[in-house]
Symmetry: C2
Subunit: 342 residues, 2 copies
């Protein structure tokens, strides 16, 4: 259902690496960065799975920036979240500046455990780092048989509706539903296109498929370079996504007691101290949710397509196919990054 | 932050009615429709408050259609939700085809009670009717000191991304945060403009402020009449809102055991049996959430405005001002509806 965010996996600069070898090499690189066994294994697996599942922008390709933040002391390699407050099925944890993907995974694990006991569970996490692929926590909940919801705030990187300078984050939101034939997982940021996506389109010399922001004259445009230059990407749904980004941030900061977007340093290399919320909901009471999900997918795809070539996809539909292909052919990794992993 | 959905409250066909008189007249009309005391009072108050708060499209203006659905037997005047399953802080209720606004209010009350006991509470409601103004439940949670989240499915009224015929609902989503100086409440449907909004713009001879759907030739357009005619309104954020609408529906139907969008009759006068989810989250553990919300609002409004006349608003910002004005001057009601109330 989404347009492609990453450049094609197969090009001159790409090597195909067997998944276990990728995990092993990332683990070793993390050990060299000072990670002890447990965080190294978890963090490496999450990076490798992200690339395996086709989310190339937030997998191994992000590892060099992540390593730089470990070296600069912003990401603490061996920190794990600590619980700071508890009220029934709602808990507040402090991420201790630990690695963001591992912190997020542990938080969703805890929300799932709370939901097993109470039907629903919520973990609000302060003081963490970029979770890389939020959808990983959606898959995690769905694979545990739970409905999952989670979101994060970010540094200010998006002008609100009516404004021209960044004052909200693009605050990704993840929703997931378990399903026998593959879960439904939605993973969307509140900007129509990420800066990474804008860069990809520009590199390929392409216009965006739909308007993605404003140019220097304040006109809506499909030109990725014009948006990179104006720094005015568009929130999804204009005022609606702007409002949604704003309130997700306030809820995350209020529940976790951590930083709001306005307190996070507005620099990708200094962006730390995010606030996140993880909710798991269990409880299949009667009717098989699979029947509902399958019927809804069938109905979705019964809509008359816009053209013969058009696909109407449910969120997450392509992931299992991409995963299978990458497991069979090797996971595509940038040659330069692979060589640097040593 | 939203564009105006309703026509200006003051025009030739509008009367200004004192709020208590409006509640009393609606209560009496409901009694004539067969409502007993409790449901009549609650349902009347919710209709009157919706118009009082400026959500003209879903308040008294919707009363004639609501009355028609009571008369046709689709809305059962004296039904109240019954609990059908329970798992800790997660409960499933059956709305018994009762009045949608009263069912939704009772469900959020129950979610709030669960959250008081467990930090977080969730009620999944099957077999209900149109909740009219979903934002009412957001205000309700926030005024109880809780973070509120709720959503509903609808009949299929929106083509999914890549399709030309309706296969998802516009499935409104509500998020709310308590705050001393007035709560933050977001209430958004997954279509960029409702059919009611398209009609308002067309009546005023105006183009939409941004693209709102496709014309007959499949081109994106700001012409409201062209979208009404093609029946192809645009989901917010193109594929993103299409995916969000889809998964909210599946979660609501799976949790409640009720109908998914594909099972709801695609006719506004037959639209019944919606599934809804109500979540309340309590637990202010330390830092005062008001400080976070106030800081976030201040930062939001520090963005450089697009023009001198531009306002950067937080969700719900205008409601208290409109409420105050309508309480002082009388609530604006269409004269024809007021006279029909008898």
């Amino acid at each position: 259902m989404a347009s492609s965010v990453s450049s094609s996996p197969d090009s001159a600069g790409i090597v195909r690496v067997p998944f276990p070898e990728l995990v092993e090499r990332l683990t070793r690189a993390l050990r060299h960065l000072g990670f002890e066994h447990e965080n190294a294994s978890l963090c490496a697996r999450l990076f490798a799975e992200t690339t395996r599942d086709g989310v190339y922008s937030h997998g191994v390709r992000r590892f060099p920036r992540f390593a730089a933040m470990v070296r600069s002391g912003l990401v603490h390699p061996n920190a794990v979240p600590e619980r700071t407050a508890r009220c029934g099925a709602l808990e507040r944890w402090d991420g201790q500046s630990g690695p963001g993907n591992a912190n997020a995974w542990r938080s969703m694990e805890r929300a799932i455990a709370l939901a097993r006991a109470s039907g629903i569970g919520c973990v609000a996490l302060a003081n963490t780092n970029h979770w890389m692929r939020g959808g990983a926590c959606g898959w995690q909940a769905a694979e545990a048989g739970m409905i999952g919801m989670c979101w994060t705030n970010t540094m200010p990187n998006l002008p609100p509706w009516g404004g021209t300078t960044p004052a909200v984050g693009n605050n990704p939101l993840v929703l997931a539903v378990p399903r026998a034939h593959g879960p439904i997982v939605l993973d969307i940021a509140m900007s129509q296109f990420s800066y990474g996506a804008l860069e990809s389109y520009r590199d390929r010399g392409e216009q965006l498929p739909v308007i993605g922001g404003f140019d220097a004259a304040g006109e809506l445009t499909r030109d990725p370079a014009a948006i990179e230059s104006s720094q005015r990407p568009l929130p999804i749904g204009f005022w609606k996504g702007s409002g949604l980004a704003f309130i997700l941030d306030v809820i995350g900061a209020a529940l976790s007691g951590g930083q709001a977007t306005c307190e996070i340093p507005p620099d990708p290399l200094q962006e730390t101290g995010q606030s996140q919320v993880f909710i798991a909901i269990g409880g299949s009471f009667g009717r098989n949710p699979d029947d509902i999900a399958d019927a809804a997918i069938q109905f979705l795809q019964s809509s008359q397509p816009v053209s013969e070539a058009a696909h109407i996809r449910y969120p997450g539909q392509q992931t299992l196919r991409i995963r299978e292909e990458n497991l069979a052919r090797g996971v595509p990794v940038d040659r330069s990054i692979w060589e640097d992993l040593g």
